[in-house]
């Protein structure tokens, strides 16, 4: 009546270490994005509030990842008040989209910031890294899970560089029209990338060949 294959302690320890390092990486990337977008601090356009939101979003997101494995009892009847407060806190931590709020606040800080376009491009790359690391940490997956996305991420990095380059180009003429023109060019680039996307991100055949399950 006994199972035969029991996970080895070494494998478990390696998994825990990997998960911890990804979580730490996500938290550091988030903190780096906040610092990158906020420094030097400006005092206009609710910058203080945006900074507060950014810090709150990143910190709460990291805390959510840390406490993700804490179990919640199925029934919370007749629980002590302290435990009930703790459960409410956990519920709030898990339901609120902290990372999205942090993202918006960081972008808003970057808008307020008189930064050169390459500064924004670096922030964009760091934000994508932050989102990917957060996803890996919350799903418990290894970085190998992102291997199929490498080509698309490379195209995205190219577009990011092109966008920064478009921002750094000197204006063709005076007025708002030239800025709009550059924007349209950037949008056209994104659309063009979208057109080649099906070829870059083509799915491989199903394992073992044959039809996909559920398809006629």
């Amino acid at each position: 009546m006994t199972g035969s294959s029991v996970p080895r302690a070494g494998v478990l320890r390696a998994g825990v270490l990997r998960g911890g390092s990804i979580l730490l990486g996500a938290a550091l990337l988030g903190a780096g994005c906040v610092v990158w977008a906020a420094a030097p601090l400006v005092r206009s356009g609710y910058a203080d509030f945006a900074l507060f939101l950014a810090i709150l979003g990143v910190a709460a997101g990291a805390l959510r990842l840390i406490l993700a494995a804490v179990p919640v009892p199925e029934d919370n009847y007749l629980l002590p008040a302290s435990l009930r407060v703790w459960l409410r806190f956990l519920e709030a931590l898990r339901l609120v989209p902290w990372e999205e709020g942090g993202l918006l606040a960081i972008l808003w800080l970057e808008v307020l910031h008189p930064a050169p376009p390459w500064h924004t491009a670096v922030l964009g790359a760091a934000l994508i890294g932050y989102l990917l690391a957060t996803h890996l940490a919350e799903s418990g997956a290894s970085p190998e899970a992102l291997r199929p996305q490498v080509r698309v991420l490379a195209v995205g990095a190219g577009l990011l560089a092109l966008g920064a380059g478009a921002g750094m180009l000197p204006a063709v003429g005076a007025g708002a029209g030239s800025a709009l023109l550059r924007l349209v060019a950037a949008g056209a680039l994104i659309a063009a990338a979208g057109l080649v996307l099906p070829y870059v991100a083509a799915p491989g055949p199903p394992p073992g060949g044959g039809r996909w399950p559920g398809r006629q």
Binding site: M1, T2, G3, S4, S5, V6, P7, V11, L12, P97, E99, L103, L104, L107, V111, P117, T120, A121, L123, G124, I128, L131, T134, H135, E138, S139, G140, A141, A145, P148, Q149, V152, L153, V155, G156, L159, L160, L162, G163, A164, G167, A179, L180, A186, G187, I190, A193, G194, L197, P198, A201, A202, P203, G204, P206, P207, W212, P213, G214, R215
Partner: protein, 430 residues
Amino acid sequence: MSSSIEPNDRLFRVPGHELEVHWRSSRHARRLLTLGIAGVFIALLARRPEFAGVAAPALLLLGAGRVQRRPARIGVRVRPSATRAFEGELVALDVRAEGQGDSHVRWTLHPGTDIDPGDVTAADGAQARFTFTPERWGRREIGTMDVVLRDRWRLAEGHLTVTLPKLDCYPAPADQRTKVVLRRLPNRLGEHPARTSGEGIEFFGVREYVPGDRQRSINWPASTRRGRLQVNTFAAERSQDVVLLADATSDVGVPGSSALDLALRGAVAAARAYLEGRDRVGVITYQWGGVSWLGPGLGRRQLYRIIDSMLASDAGYARGASFRRLPRAALPPGALVVVFSPLLDQRFVETLRDMRERGFTLLVVDVLNAEPPVRRHREDRMARRIWRMEQEAIRFSLRELGVPVVHWDGVQSLDLPLAAHTRRPLAARR
């Protein structure tokens, strides 16, 4: 942890369940969408194309995810390594998904009540193995298994929940090696030396040689002394009928080591010990509303029958709590009756007295290890004292009737409290 199942494993031959997968956007997709929309929006408002560049990787990833195909149904096979286990025994649970395509599968085990999942409750891969330990006897639900499918781009998540099968958890038998043996044994071959000569191996005595005796049994020293041929005789080896009587009317004490827990564990230990000694063992479970029984039998399979009978005692004989109505098959005359009870139910004690008066040889193992709570009020202390005296009186009255009562705390081996009765045959005093 996972992927340790061989391709020819029985799991592959177990029919699986086709389950519908409910797909929805992942948190990762929602975050990418937030970044993409915010980047494009800011680029348009602030007329800064570099923000469109920030939005581009997120939008590309989202667009790539749209190209993917996701299975609407997958097959899930679940196989525990055993459908029966003793308390504290390690059980493996193999799970396997089929038809998930190139989606990534994550399994999360949510254990049921009194199921200890161990250190690992989540695993990745198309197949995985979990281990768990049932902590308390009874028909236990192992729990549920959450299956999360993630597409290649990790933008959509498919969720489904599988209800795991139930597990019959048997009480962990206590440690018992020695056996109480009756002085009078029925004329049936067994392993206990009887008080008559026969074909056993234990020395019984010396008698004069008669034609037909084996030459090898001649006792030469005795023959030399007496001047006539003397032969050794050996004790006959007999078996006995043992009826275990489990009192399920009272369950007091800490769950896990309550009176009922100890009664069942002790009964299982006794059943195992006597069955290993080739005795015929049966069980009677006394509970509210009736009595269930299983007639004495032999063999290892009888042990599991006894446990099943105790755990499903409501399915048996239930015409009332009187043992007088029990058939002869359930309570054979001359059987040794080993009782596991906290002796809290007065009717049960009366039943024991009645059995003793009918000539049965009884041995009571007292499994009461709890007392009324200590309180400050004088009346409470007085009530506690009266309760103790009443308990002592019950045990004293049984001893006066010739029923030995031994106390067992559930921690030590059962051999210790039974030691006084296992060294010599138990005589039924009349």
